[in-house]
Subunit: 327 residues, 2 copies
């Protein structure tokens, strides 16, 4: 049997679930040491779109017939994935020497790299501690594999810095590991904790993986073409840090020797304005955006596997927002 559920109800349940996630997140990071509490409070200001918990709760509600329930395990898992994500933000800002994140000063710029390194470690540690409360060894194993992949993606990316021969397949593989494997796992875990069929669980993973790659491409586009006030974080970091992203890779694939020489010069001299205008004029930015949109379309197609029609509609809206955003 199947209960009727209108979009309003889904959104209410989601909002309620996300508020439980936030409460649990904050409770997990409580510490007897004022110095630790204060740092965690600062990091909590990084909390933004809550994409990962949202996806987990929605696939949790949408992947089986019956009542739309957000269980305690869903809430614990959702708080865990957000905590893993926040740890990566704190360490990413160290790597990128970024000074602004969600319109706040970053931990590294306020308190130094050392504190940011250990705060990130503390968040990772708390994430693994928190998820152990579910008491499901398979979930621990899965999340360990996810964070292994995430770090591998970052390590491969670091090893290819300033390497202008980076090809599209390798770029996508880096992005898949460093971003999309976690987003995929969110969608998968939501479904699995609801007891969905293996077929639905696998479809959910693919939804998240597609959206994760699209999300990262959009992030890279914002780093290239956005302004810091709108985006709310330090931009132009990819050029500064020697990270080749999709528009540049497409440009180098498609353009002639003279154009390639011009863009390589802009990269070498860290001339962001020239880089941006070359990529915009050549259609490489548009090409990257089209690729991200095609991934969103693939994700939307995979959503057909979800039995709950109204939840599916909410997820379709979420999928569109991955590429239609200015921050």
């Amino acid at each position: 049997m199947r209960f009727a559920a209108d979009t309003n109800t889904i959104e209410e349940r989601l909002a309620d679930g996300l508020s439980r996630v936030e409460q649990l997140f904050d409770a997990q990071l409580r510490s007897p040491f004022p110095a630790v509490e204060e740092l965690c409070c600062h990091a909590q200001r990084y909390r933004g779109k809550m994409l990962r918990p949202t996806l987990l709760l929605l696939t949790g509600m949408g992947s089986t017939q019956g009542a739309l329930i957000v269980t305690e395990s869903h809430v614990v898992a959702a708080a865990t994935v957000e905590m893993i994500h926040m740890a990566t933000l704190v360490h990413d800002d160290v790597l990128d020497e970024a000074s602004v994140r969600r319109r706040c000063q970053t931990v590294n710029s306020l308190r130094g790299n050392e504190t940011a390194v250990i705060l990130g470690d503390y968040l990772i540690s708390n994430a693994f501690h928190l998820v152990s409360r579910v008491g499901d060894p398979a979930l621990n194993l899965r999340l360990g594999a996810v964070t292994n992949a995430l770090c591998e993606g970052e390590l491969v990316q670091l090893s290819r810095r300033h390497d202008v021969s980076l090809d599209r397949a390798t770029y996508i593989e880096i992005v898949r590991r460093k971003t999309a494997v976690l987003v995929g796992a969110c969608a998968e875990i939501g479904a699995r904790l609801s007891g969905a069929s293996e077929e639905v669980v696998a479809a959910c993973y693919r939804v998240g993986e597609h959206l994760g790659i699209a999300f990262q491409i959009q992030d890279d586009l914002l780093d290239l073409t956005g302004d810091e006030v709108t985006v709310g974080k330090s931009i132009g970091r990819d050029l500064e840090k020697g990270k080749l992203t999709l528009p540049t890779i497409l440009f180098l694939e498609r353009e002639g020797a003279r154009e390639r020489a011009a863009i390589l010069r802009a990269i070498e001299t860290r001339d962001g304005e020239t880089l941006k205008s070359l990529l915009l004029a050549s259609g490489a930015v548009r090409g990257a955006r089209e690729y991200a949109c095609s991934l969103v379309a693939s994700a939307r197609r995979e959503l057909a596997a979800l039995p709950q029609l109204q939840v599916r509609a909410v997820l379709e809206g979420l999928a569109d927002k991955v590429v239609d955003r200015a921050n």
Copy 2:
């Protein structure tokens, strides 16, 4: 019933267990990416005394009557604690800007802080992934609590850098969290995985905690009075990084205003030679050493709870080596 076991057999079993730990450790870090493999190979050179796996395997063998067995769970847990330890070494070297570790160049000095940060994350992630293979949620929960405490210790220490009012109780609490909680957990987990009684498990934890604090005090003494060639890692980092350690704290507790002014000047000007000679001449170094030895004596007393006499003798030898070492 109780099988006879001579020390030789225990040492053979321990050596065999440690070799299984090393094999599992290396297998866990295998990666399809050459850039990742190469980094892990470098980090594996940090492997030193294997204190933590040794302690875990020995309490595993010594805490129950019957045959001295090293189970697969003991091996997995022992490889996990060593991996956690290695992750902390990699991140500590970033924090300390150290360039030498176990007579090798550190990852941060060879490949930059960014790579060292993510390599440390990769080791933490793999540790949690590995231990999930035991399939025991309580073990995951316990290790999560241990790494939470470890990071809290580091964060409190960072927040008290250059603070000459740091008192002895706070120093000991920092050391307990950043070092001794993990060592205690090693001894505890070894016993627990062997099915030891709660009383023996608790005694094992205390053995490890005492030894962990003693170990850190000895490390701090080597940083102060050792030479880099013998110690095998960068020394003088505590003074450089504004970390007050036990000899200085004892000196400030005991000495008069003029002596205190002299040592504060040495700290402010980072004059390592003067600091060292003041601490040696005043007996503060000896006082710190005596305190470490008293902790080893407490650990030895707690060992009386272990039913296996011969394993206990090996553990007593291990306890002595914690403070009788030059590297």
